[in-house]
């Protein structure tokens, strides 16, 4: 069951890759990165449960923190309207 869930989450990431490819704006591509943050956190938590390694919870925490920082970096530094 849990293994199925990891496949579903990888599926969501595949769909997000499609959005990166299509864009059309930088902001649209940023959305995929936001999805990686949430799905990545979920995926890491699930793998922690499947493998019994609760240390992976710490990794999920780091994913969540990075998700917050990337959006700030994107808006402040990377993106200009019209890209």
């Amino acid at each position: 069951m849990l293994e199925m869930m990891t496949l579903v989450l990888m599926g969501t990431i595949a769909l997000a890759v499609y959005r990166i490819e299509r864009g059309p704006t930088g902001a649209d591509r940023m959305l995929s990165s936001m999805l990686f943050g949430t799905s990545g956190t979920a995926l890491t938590l699930l793998l922690g449960e499947v493998s019994g390694l609760h240390r992976l919870h710490d990794m999920a925490l780091v994913f969540a923190l990075l998700a917050a920082v990337t959006a700030v970096a994107f808006v402040k530094r990377a993106w200009r309207a019209g890209d």
Binding site: H54, H57, D58, L61
Partner: protein, 175 residues
């Protein structure tokens, strides 16, 4: 931001640093999943983080009302469900029913923190998304013009106000 913070006395600084240290130590214990041995490092880091926190935000943190918080958590949980289900059904519906629009909402709440909490809450609730602050107004993007109105947004604002123990003018009207 830091410029308009009030200057605080030594005693206040010490008090706030200790209070925030206690909260951070509790958070550390949760993150270490109860491993008290790790507090050797954790306690030190908690005090360092509390010191940094008081240096950056010396003013008192806004107080939350316990009853308001309990009601807010229940409201938030139910509305998250509604919001997730609403957007999931729209995404999976063959015709993808959407009627988006933008509207300006005039804040009744004052104060930086309550407004930010309100704007963030709106983004997580059904059909609304905070897009832009402009003075005392907030631009809200709505997924369905028919479903999200100034009135439904005002109800969320009332909940956030209750969280901070604030009573808003005209809040009885939207209840």
């Amino acid at each position: 931001m830091a410029d308009d913070e009030p200057r605080i006395s030594y005693v206040e600084r010490l008090g706030r640093t200790s209070m925030r240290s206690v909260v951070l130590v509790a958070l550390w214990i949760v993150l270490a999943e109860g491993d008290l041995e790790s507090l050797k490092v954790g306690a030190l880091l908690a005090v360092a983080a509390a010191t940094a926190s008081v240096a950056l935000l010396p003013g008192p943190l806004p107080r939350l009302s316990a009853w308001g918080l309990a009601r807010f958590v229940a409201f938030f949980a139910i509305q998250s469900f509604a919001g997730g289900t609403d957007v999931a059904l729209r995404a999976l519906h063959p015709r993808r029913p959407l009627d988006p629009s933008c509207l300006w909402y005039d804040f009744r709440l004052s104060g930086h923190t309550p407004r930010v909490v309100f704007a963030n809450t709106l983004s997580l609730l059904p059909g609304t998304l905070s897009a832009r602050f402009d003075g005392d107004r907030l631009e809200v993007h709505v997924l369905d013009r028919g479903a999200s109105t100034t009135r439904s947004i005002a109800q969320v604002e009332d909940r956030v106000a209750a969280l901070f123990g604030i009573v808003l003018p005209m809040s009885g009207e939207v209840e």
